[in-house]
Symmetry: C2
Subunit: 317 residues, 2 copies
């Protein structure tokens, strides 16, 4: 039986990711959280050289943000398997920011990188379907279909329950795309709700993990990986083994290495289902490496991405 | 002691809302969830008459969406106190959709309506701060400050815990804006996570309610209403009284009347803290009223908004 019945030869997200990790020998995800006040100086210079000094601040800042992201991608693409643009950072620049986001997505895909839109969307079914159209699919209209952002995957928030995840799963699966559902995030406040004890003795995050495994089961490909993965913070390594047991086929997206205090060395249980079972995401850790190490931002970013890549690859081998 | 110490004469969101509800004698929120495939025919006609037949589908659809929203606002503004644009429905049209959203927000504010951006955002602190800038504040940049969307309030998702809510609260409070935190949503799947029993016998939603009350306490104004409200589905009236007890100062945003099966008559406990304690949101119930009642969409929408307004006002009196 084909892994993706009903979708012809469309490769499932899990299989596509497994293949890409094997080819690129990397599990590193470049997180792009551009803050207009902390861009690489070269991005500001190039944006200023573009000669649109009379344009609105949002247009100029969005131009600089797009250049900054392009420089970061060019510097580190060889060391990474994916990029994770943080949608908030583009959205705060309005329509101009959305254009910068679309350009960043297109460039990353050109460079052979998987694009994970870090959107953390979640809503009632009809609205969840609209978000899925925005990031992974397309929207029918009387003027013709409107292409979405074209991300390979996106992060989603499961607080609204199973029926709020299903439209994301349907759209993702139909397009060979993937999801990463928030299960145990990397921030200290994750304990407030996600780690609260339920009446049956498990934690809320355990219950979310079961939900992920369940909606992901029909999307497990030849690689044994599902198209529905989970966000599991690298800052909570003590939870990794238990969550891996509940979600044997999920790809874990692991943020929180570096600035937030997580260590690659602690993430071994994530790779129990193979080298593509864990994706290690670093944002400021890579892009702001020059602030700690000094020197050229691009060179410092490439060095840090390479260091993380080698650490992770050894761990998963 | 002033209700809003440190912010000069800036009126708190709760006070501003209480004043607006009293002046307009309405607790009705017009939900705007525009689907390009289900717009009012007049919106399509006007968008086609704009003569941009050569423009991309997204531009033309976004134009039609903006006209549709403008027509719905003009038809019902007198009966409503607020509008609630569903961000997903604009975002799926990309940059052009963001422009349509900004136009919709500006028009609603011109008509004296409170604007609640239904965004359901939630993320780690630095990202939450970026979303708050996008919807309620502004973003500093080397090219000057970039204005956000300018909404009066937005919906946020608390799954990531207290530290993920704090940046939203800080930005909202500094700008006299408000938040509506998801506590008990209107969809059937809400039971999966939000109504799960915790070890202490309460439900997850009870715990979220306590969190809302806590972060909202410093934002309670003269009106006794806080700048941090809660989303509580009109489809779960049996939970209203208990949640009101846990959140005595919160404004309840009550979606789910009409298409989702909620009844205005069941919502009395929401108004225990005054006429502005509950905001009744209806989207398809108002905008698609003509699909049930026949006739002109604008007239049918106005009639339905008036009916809901009168029902709610009697209840809260």
């Amino acid at each position: 039986m084909p892994a993706n019945p009903g979708h012809g030869d469309l490769t499932s997200f899990g299989d596509r990711l497994a293949d890409r990790v094997a080819t690129r020998r990397s599990q590193i995800v470049l997180g792009l959280d551009p803050d207009p006040a902390r861009l690489w100086p070269e991005a500001i210079r190039r944006a200023e050289a573009a000669g649109d000094a009379g344009a609105p601040a949002a247009t100029r800042a969005a131009r600089a943000v797009a250049v900054h992201c392009a420089l970061a991608i060019e510097a580190t693409a060889e060391e990474c398997v994916a990029v994770k643009p943080q949608v908030a950072c583009f959205e705060r620049l309005g329509a101009a920011g959305w254009i910068a986001l679309a350009e960043t997505v297109a460039l990353a895909r050109e460079r052979g990188l998987i694009v994970i839109a870090d959107a953390k969307r979640g809503d009632v079914d009809v609205t969840a379907a609209a978000y899925a159209q925005a990031f992974l699919g397309e929207t029918p209209s009387p003027f013709g279909p409107i292409e979405g952002l074209g991300a390979d995957a996106m992060t989603v928030n499961p607080l609204l329950g199973r029926d709020s995840l299903e439209p994301f799963v349907t759209t993702a699966r139909a397009h060979g795309r993937g999801l990463f559902v928030l299960v145990r995030t990397s921030n200290p406040g994750a304990a407030d709700v996600q780690e609260r004890a339920l009446a049956d003795g498990s934690a809320v995050s355990d219950h979310l993990a079961d939900l992920v495994a369940d909606v992901g089961a029909p999307g497990v490909g030849h690689s044994d990986l599902s198209d529905v993965g989970a966000v599991v913070g690298a800052t909570a390594p003590e939870r990794l083994a238990a969550l891996r047991e509940r979600m044997p086929h999920a790809v874990f997206l692991l943020p929180g290495v570096g600035a937030q205090g997580g260590n690659v060395e602690d993430l071994e249980p994530a790779f129990a289902n193979g080298p593509a079972g864990g994706l290690i995401s670093a944002s400021r850790g890579i892009v702001a490496a020059h602030e700690r190490a000094g020197g050229d931002p691009a060179a410092a970013a490439a060095r840090e991405a390479r260091r993380l890549r080698e650490l992770a690859w050894r761990l998963a081998a």
